[in-house]
Amino acid sequence: MHYLGGVPAVLEATRSFTRRATRPETPARLRLWVAATIATAATLLLTLSLLMARAQEQVRIIGDEAAPQAATAADLYFALSDLDAQVARMVLTAGDDDLAGSQIDALGTYQERSRQVDADVQQALATATDRAAVAELATHLAVYRERVWQTLTAGDAAAGYYTQATNVLHLDLLPAAQDLRDRSTERLSDAYARKSATEAWAVTLAVVLGAALVILLFALQVWLARRFRRVLSPALLAATVLTAAVVVPAVAVLLTQSATLSAARDDSLAPFLALSQARAISYDAAADTSRFLISDNLAYYDDDFQRKSACLVTGSACDVPGGLPAVTGGPDVSPFGRDQVLTRWQAYQKDHERIVGLARGGKNEEAVGALTGIRRGDASFDFAYFDAAVDDIASARSAAFGQALRDSKTLLAGWSWIPVAGLGLVIVLIPPAVRRRFAEYR
């Protein structure tokens, strides 16, 4: 290390520079103004472009990873519920020539749901932290499919095998799917929290540093005018305007996209996920009507239906607080649309009670006809009617969230380089503005 008069050379050089810069002479003052202004502009440039890039990435993570994972987990739960409902339909219609159409429809839907489950499982595997849980779910799924195969080939013994199949679904598969859904919902909340933190930092720093830069540029302009009797420096004026033109829209973009995505989560995504949960329960409840008939009028399945239906109607003792009125309510749904969902479910509830009554009265054929028929007042049609009302709301919510996400991405597009270009130009404009003033002192 070099020493000058007993002091390290670097320290001495710094001290010397500081002394020169803070000297009361005009050139030194001018150097100080310029250095402070450029340093502030550079800090703002770096901070803003980095935080904007980070916000863009976090919006991408929400849109391309966290939200689809939550939707996939919800879809998996729903698809599994319907898978078992279709197996129940196939068992109930097996061997009845008059119901061959209903059976082939159930088989087609079973295969569709099966592909849906496989696609959801595959997508869930992409999340490293969920792999063990997904592997466990896949094992249960293999057992379930084995039981279904046994059920569909067992002839008269189908009911026994089906009991095992539906037990695997309710005791192993659905809880595993529920676990995946909870994890993905938590990840979505975390992703939103991280994005909010980034936005808060970006807005705060943009406002503080942007205001500081504007003040420095304005003060420099005033100081130059007084000291050098110049009216206005066009370059400094342009730099001031440019700073405001970068910082104000940046803050507006951050606040607007934040509000857009938060509203999309609160008004679209969260209600969509809650509605998906209620929809899965409705499919499972509707399958209880078939299960009741398959099991030769086992009261357990009627009780299970009543429990699920009470959950849907009032939200009592289940994962759907407030039931259908709550999950179908909101600013995006008209009171008529909301009431239709509940009314149509109550119509299915009556169908269930009629079918149970017919079966208990020994009129099994009539009960199966009332279950599979597509006339108004038949269970199959009334459930499709109910589900169509749910689907209208779910589709609108899913589309609204997707739109909000696209809007957010569009708003943030280019904001990782706009600060570089705008503030880079501000930095470039400052030296020409003061070069002639420095020249006066040479």
């Binding site: 429809d105 829209p249 169509a388 708003l411 597009a413």
Partner: protein, 348 residues
């Protein structure tokens, strides 16, 4: 809330971007009331899907369809108890004047509404892509070819190694439009090997008889060496392989919606004055056409049809209606024919 929306719109406009909006599904033009149809079981699944979708969209409409077979459906229509009839075969010369008389204000017309490819589904060890010429099919179903390694089958499948498994043919025991169209195909393309003519009841001796497509397909599934004819949907949903069938252009064509559509698209419209009765020429040389197809019609009165009949059939013949049928294993009508049907429905 309004301020936020305005801000968003302003910023998006500044970004110079048009936010794409999702297109709403085309709405069904609803009519109210009640109608009933009866007839073909081959189209029953498609009609059920149309009824369900239509009633879901149209709260004041009730549409019923009884799958009682084409003959009974036409009888109900002629008797005035049905607003429309579903049939796999056009009105006979005997029934035509009765149907016209029932309509009073105008003649009864045929509206082709959905095409159902007929699959030759099989269960043969080692055979993944079987090809069968019409004369080979006729000889198989008449019992003249009894083993899968027969030289005639080998001629259709050069380079393939086929087993010596005995052939078990499976046919319908009940009267069906599928049998009618399958035997029409054999009578038209392999007359020398198929002396039994055509009809809704299976005419040839031998083979395993089963009631309904569901039982036919189940029998094929559990019988080594089995082959049978079923609506394509049953073969597809049961994952059974289906044979590529020889057409008059000298090609072996696999069963796809597009190939079946080419065959239907090549059919001639023999009806006049809005009647869209088709004549499928099994001997036409349309390239890439899968020749074994069944076209099912709705028979309605050309004038005086209830608004609900018109509205319901407008949905059935729309792209959305055809798509709903496709999901169930039917082949959609070719666009040109679908347009003609839509025009005829609009003119009802």
């Amino acid at each position: 809330m309004k301020l936020r929306a305005l801000g968003l719109i302003a910023l998006l406009a500044l970004a110079g971007c048009d936010s794409p909006r999702s297109e709403a599904a085309p709405a069904i033009g609803c009519a109210g009331g009640e109608i009933a149809g009866q007839g073909s079981s081959a189209q029953a699944n498609a009609v059920s899907a149309w009824i369900r979708n239509y009633q879901v969209s149209c709260a004041d409409a009730t549409v019923e369809y009884a799958s009682v077979g084409s003959g009974a459906g036409l009888a109900a229509f002629i008797g005035g108890t049905g607003d429309f009839a579903g049939t796999d075969s056009p009105l006979s010369t005997e029934d035509r004047p009765k149907a016209d008389a029932r309509c009073a204000g105008g003649p009864a017309i045929h509206l082709p509404m959905v095409a159902g490819p007929i699959a030759l589904a099989y269960n043969v060890a080692g055979a993944g892509d079987l090809r069968l010429a019409p004369d080979t099919v006729a000889r198989i179903f008449t019992g003249r070819i009894t083993s899968w390694n027969d030289p005639e089958i080998a001629r259709d499948n050069p380079g393939e190694s086929l087993p010596a498994t005995p052939i078990r043919t499976v046919h319908r025991s009940d009267s069906s439009g599928t049998t009618d169209n399958f035997t029409k195909f054999l009578a038209a393309t392999a007359a020398a090997d198929w002396p039994h003519g055509s009809g809704s009841a299976w005419p040839a001796p031998g083979g395993l008889a089963q009631k309904g497509s569901n039982r036919v397909v189940s029998t094929i599934e559990r019988s080594d060496g089995a082959i049978g004819y079923v609506e394509a949907s049953y073969a597809r949903f049961h994952h059974l392989p289906t044979a590529a069938v020889g057409n008059a252009a000298g090609e072996f064509v696999a069963l796809t919606d597009a190939a079946a559509g080419r065959m239907v698209g090549g059919a001639k419209i023999t009806g006049t004055g809005g009647d869209l009765q088709l004549a499928i020429d099994y001997r036409s040389g349309t390239t890439g056409a899968y020749p074994l197809v069944l076209v099912t019609y709705e028979v309605v009165c050309k004038t005086g049809a209830k608004p609900l009949v018109k509205s319901f059939l407008a949905y059935a013949s729309s792209p959305a209606g055809q798509q709903a049928a496709t999901r169930l294993g039917y082949a959609p009508l070719p666009d040109a024919l679908r347009d003609r049907v839509a025009q005829a429905v609009a003119a009802l």
